[in-house]
Symmetry: C2
Subunit: 361 residues, 2 copies
């Protein structure tokens, strides 16, 4: 088929203009006689790509100078494993706020080396809401407080930055980074796998307040040490150049489209449209998340009759709307509508959902 | 320019046919309406890509069933850091044979958690030869013996598999994997970053004898645990799908070209041609590595007069021969001639080198 509207949760749809540019440059990048994926990461060509990517991300997110930006391999889960190694002393307390599947995964990566405290846990409520800030049981001496800004599977999103006092706040922004303006200065660390809002899978971004890099952390290999990565300009070993390059193209596309303010407006319209269709369906479609914390990025929903799931997915695919099946942990449907999903894609889905209800309601 | 002959040490040149296929499929993979980089790693499309990549690599390398094959992020350096965590008890002895820059890097990743013993060290001789096997000081109780099959910077290559008795042998094959037939059954672990002979940077391959995965190792995060990666089919977190896919295309290309036996013959001819030009230049060009251990993959060489380096590189580039500058640790020139470098590329370089000598000799 021609290009479908792809609602995959990640790896997710990329801007078509970015894919077309990568396609055009695939055999010969800027006339050098080779693809960017075939060139040395330390050569002038890729060093320029890397420098522009960092500068563009800094511009997009208004990242202050006292924050370092790293482009690394391993994804968000590896970043989760490196948090205590880099920022907590052996056995020190760390606080985790768990509001979905990925918060739980983050916690799993650190238990062997620190005193991980679950300060708040949305699991008893099926992760349909975020525990109120005044119920959180924070440690007095925590190395950091970790939370997941947007839960991709459960569709739960913090709509403001939690206040945790002077303890460094660590945010997993894998699925909502650059989707709206964010005050980076409120954070100790922001990290994100790229495959939702930043570009292709295979590269991750870690934004870290520089003073935290002076912490001793725990015994670890050089390649697991953020200080060493900063000193090595994220090129301590050969970095994933193609992925980094493609993320850089996405940053330029976002800047050209108007930056995070523009995307915040588009994302608000897109998510409002979808939740509207669901809420106005009289129970034909159902989203169970508390209205105040519904995700603007991932809209999980259920059909009132499970027997309709298969025809819904099949007919959606025929209509050019793909990857709508929900995560196996939750079932049902999920529409992921990151920055690269155009408004016309969400409009097409909304129309399809209304039509499907008429045919099967 | 049109496609140059690219002698980059890694990221390195890729088969043009593979790049053309990736280019053609960039916006729509096999008619699904999206690029492979935009699809879920757990969806049927990518699961098929992953399964074929493993099957093809197993066929290429004749990997026995009692070996697991993992496709992971992080590159060879991360693999080096994970070796002791997965295969050695805290403080246990591990033996390292250091024959160049990368063996030294491997050692640096493990010192904090095991008793790393340098069993042999080529550094005093400037890494121009490999210490004879009967001089190695192996520990009696080592968890494993590590060596670097081919040193990319120093151009030193083991031409046979060292006998280390019953202790598992761990080989870094980043720059020589699938360049010739290899008896995998002689190894405990073979690992390789992909960016030289296997495909693009951003994915690495770890081939591990399954019984070694039963070792307790050291306390570590799940994402740093090879057992967990095996159980999760190398999809414990979102894997670098595009990189994995491109490596899979390279495997299919290698099989279609005749497999490792054919590439062994081509690589022997290519390296013999280059060393011949150097050795017959009467000292105009110089390679300092002992003849018996000269690398078939990376040919470092020096011009007799450093003042000729710049004109050599400039005129080579004009002739469509790029990325010949040596690593900064060694200086001089380096021609990396992995599987994807066609024989005509090496012939063009040989002709250029002879002509350059005539003009400047």
């Amino acid at each position: 088929m021609s290009r479908a509207f792809n609602f995959s949760a990640g790896p997710a749809t990329l801007p078509e203009a970015v894919l077309r540019q990568a396609q055009a440059e695939m055999l010969d990048w800027h006339g050098v006689g080779a693809s960017i994926v075939e060139l040395s990461h330390r050569g002038p060509e890729f060093m320029q790509v890397a420098a522009e990517a960092e500068a563009d991300l800094r511009a997009l997110m208004s990242i202050p100078d006292d924050y370092a930006v790293l482009f690394l391999q391993g994804g968000a889960t590896t970043a989760q494993a490196l948090l205590p190694l880099n920022f907590a002393a052996p056995g020190q307390a760390v606080d985790y706020v768990v509001t979905g599947h990925w918060g739980k995964t983050a916690l799993k990566q650190v238990k062997h080396c620190v005193a991980a405290n679950v300060a708040a846990n949305g699991e008893p409520g099926g992760y349909r809401d975020i525990p109120a800030r005044d119920t959180w049981q924070l440690s007095s001496d925590a190395a950091y407080v970790h939370y997941t800004a947007n839960e991709t599977i459960h569709g739960v999103e913090f709509r403001d930055i939690p206040d945790v006092g002077d303890v460094p706040l660590v945010g997993d922004f894998s699925s909502s980074i650059v989707s709206e303006p964010l005050d980076v200065s409120k954070f100790g660390v922001i990290y994100a796998g790229a495959q939702k809002n930043l570009g292709p899978v295979g590269v991750s971004v870690v934004i870290v307040r520089r003073d935290l890099l002076e912490r001793a952390g725990q015994p670890r290999a050089e390649i697991l040490d953020y200080r060493a990565h900063l000193k090595g300009e994220s090129m301590l070993n050969t970095p994933p150049t193609w992925n980094w390059y493609l993320a850089g193209l996405v940053f330029k596309w976002m800047l050209a489209e108007g930056g995070v303010t523009e995307f915040a407006a588009r994302n608000a319209r897109k998510s409002a449209l979808l939740y509207g269709v669901i809420d106005q369906s009289g129970g034909f479609y159902r989203n169970e998340v508390a209205a105040a914390v519904r995700s603007r990025m991932n809209v999980p929903f259920f059909l009132h009759d499970e027997a309709l799931d298969k025809p819904f997915l099949a007919q959606a695919q025929e209509a050019g709307l793909i990857s709508l099946k929900g995560h196996r942990a939750l079932g049902g449907m999920r529409a992921s509508i990151y920055n690269a999903m155009p408004e016309e894609g969400v409009q097409a889905l909304a129309t399809f959902m209304r039509d499907f209800q008429q045919r099967h309601g």
